[in-house]
């Protein structure tokens, strides 16, 4: 157990596992940040992640290339988000209820359709996936090089998305509008910018990004689709959004923290077979809660999150 601190190869291996475990959550959390910043609480991330998993498997299964998997996976995630957007933005239904409905629908629908589409070989097939690409020079850095720069395409996409998200959110007019619409939609409306349009854009993008997290799970890690393979990752992402203070970089760090604990529990489980495995399984969840409790200062969510915007309401 202690060897991860003394042996550099073990340490690199441990950190690489941590990163891999956190990537799907990072994608979902980035989607969550975008959606919540625009004022829509997205508890449906879990369902969109699962839809992304299924879409990735469908795309890769029928077209034989992981790129098709990514396209279909992101599209399915977006479809899930479309339901949330229509219910909560257009119709003003409770965002929590809409999100839970999406999770249930996706859980049933993906399980149902996977039996029809893959005809019982869902659990035995091996889909074509992404392979690690070592980035010259950067991957030569001791310990951290192979951890961060010998990954597959989707991980590099994730880096770009965090950087792009930060730039978009804090350096562009559009990002300013998004942040404003999450704090004070009436002011944005008064300025002649469409609240509905902005929120739709954010929620749909958030679904596509969460779907990408599902793609990573299928196309880079497991290479098949199994029922309920998202297994609560979308919910952990929700905690990461709060922990990261609704900031893309913060969410990334929070997810990495969960990834480290997940990797740690895998190692502990392996190293201590006499300790009941459940003690380790609950570790990431317990850490999530403790991290929420232990936040220094109070997390302040966007002021308008959870409240449907009605133009005529006073």
């Amino acid at each position: 157990m202690i060897d991860i601190l003394t042996d550099p190869t073990q340490l690199a291996d441990f950190l690489a596992t941590s990163l891999r475990l956190s990537v799907p959550i990072i994608f979902a959390a980035l989607g969550g940040v975008l959606s919540e910043r625009s004022g829509v609480f997205n508890i449906g991330l879990e369902g969109m992640l699962l839809a992304g998993c299924f879409g990735a498997a469908v795309g890769a299964y029928f077209f034989g290339t992981p790129f098709a998997g990514v396209a279909v996976g992101m599209f399915f995630g977006l479809l899930g988000a479309l339901i949330l957007a229509y219910l909560s933005i257009t119709l003003g239904v409770s965002q929590i209820v809409s999100g839970i409905a999406i999770n249930m629908l996706m859980l049933g629908l993906t399980a149902f359709l996977s039996r029809i589409v893959f005809e019982g070989q869902a659990n035995t097939m091996t889909l074509s996936g992404f392979k690690p690409i070592a980035i010259p020079l950067l991957s030569q850095i001791p310990v951290l090089g192979p951890v961060f720069f010998n990954q597959d395409l989707l991980v590099y996409v994730m880096y770009a998305m965090v950087a792009g998200g930060l730039w978009l959110m804090y350096r562009t007019r559009w990002g300013l509008n998004v942040r404003a619409v999450g704090e004070n939609p009436r002011a944005v409306d008064t300025a002649g910018i469409s609240v509905v349009g902005l929120r739709y854009a954010c929620v749909l993008t958030s679904g596509a990004i969460a779907g990408l997290g599902g793609c990573y799970l299928v196309l880079s890690q497991i290479f098949l689709f199994s029922e309920h393979m998202s297994a609560g990752k979308g919910f952990i992402a929700l905690a990461a959004v709060i922990l990261g203070r609704w900031n893309p970089l913060g969410a990334l760090l929070a997810c990495l923290l969960f990834g480290v604990f997940d990797a740690l529990q895998l190692r502990l489980q392996f190293a201590n077979p006499e300790v009941p495995y459940q003690a380790f399984v609950i570790l990431p969840y317990a850490v999530s809660i403790l991290a929420l409790v232990g936040l220094v200062g109070k997390p302040t969510p966007p002021a308008a999150v959870g409240i449907p915007y009605k133009r005529e309401a006073k």
């Binding site: 219910l87 839970i100 409905a101 049933g108 929700l238 459940q278 809660i289 929420l292």
Partner: protein, 384 residues
Amino acid sequence: MPGLMRLLYATKSVWAILAALVVGAVFILIAGSDPIAAYGALFTGAFFEYHGIATTLVKMSPLLLAGLAVLLPLRAGLFNIGAEGQIYLGALFAAMAALYLPVMPGWIHIIICSFAGMVGGGLWALIPAYLKARHNINEVIVTLLMNYIGINLVSYATSGPMMEEGAPYPYSAEIPESLWLPHILPRTDAHLGVVIGLVIAMVMYYVFQRTSLGYSMNAVGSNPQAARYAGMSVRRHIIWSLVLGGALAGLAGTYEVLGLKYRLFHAFSAGYGYDGIVVAFLGGGHPLYAAAAALFLAGLRSGANIMQRAVGVPTTVVDTIQGLVVIFVAASLAFRFERSRWAEIWRRRKSLDRALEGEVAPPPPTPSGAQPAGAKPAAENAER
């Protein structure tokens, strides 16, 4: 005419459920089966056969109690997504009370077990309640995450300290027969749990409607600032409503053990806690409607197995339909008669009649806010 349209709008939830079933029929077609035969098997099996009804009632017990567990905190404006974990903790406490307490008369022991289950579920809900009340930490996320911890706790108990020796699968020893809940239908599994759930729903209805407690909960939920100004402790209401909700979920778990399984099983709840959210939502926050919703969902669940055996449609289609039901009902809530085109047409007809009368007699004074009948078209054009 407006009467009929009004009725159609008032029963919109029913239409939404039918619409969800129609979309579900498309999925059954995709699966290669006849939707009419499939739904026929499902609903006959769930509601029109003796043993099927019994199975429906068996499933209704945890669904209703879990639904009430979500509904109670909802009244105070809190989302309890953690009923699943509270069910597990309730079952754990009840099973411990059933297995490890000294021998005593059955009915006293049943009451003690029920109480233990409520304590288990209530304690599990106390954590998110405290965090919400003290630190304003989002209860949605904490209750969600605690589900996973609760499930694993029971998994540990049933595969470790409480595991029956030589059991092939993680489960506890059997509880004494004196603790088995009485059956309400002879020769079936239908147990008293559903009756207890119904009684609690009625009590809740009474408390919500008739007591100051129900009133103050509603006040905290609808306008916490005003409630605080009126001297109610918002913090205390948050804690009690979540803890009582947790206790009800704990009871759901308790009666799964005492009424149906007679043991504590690893992973015994088929997502009843999450289905409880659907029950509370479909019930519109009303305990008695929630009972109707629980009956409907229990029927879907029990009929699903019969449908799978009869026509070979996988039961997962029912999960899909359940999700669709929530989406369609949620969408239907946005449609209100008063804001519909039909109401608009009806208003125009009435104003037309008034205008006609006005040509005979001077126009009556219009109520504030309404347009004078004759000026209406011009005003509308101006708006566009």
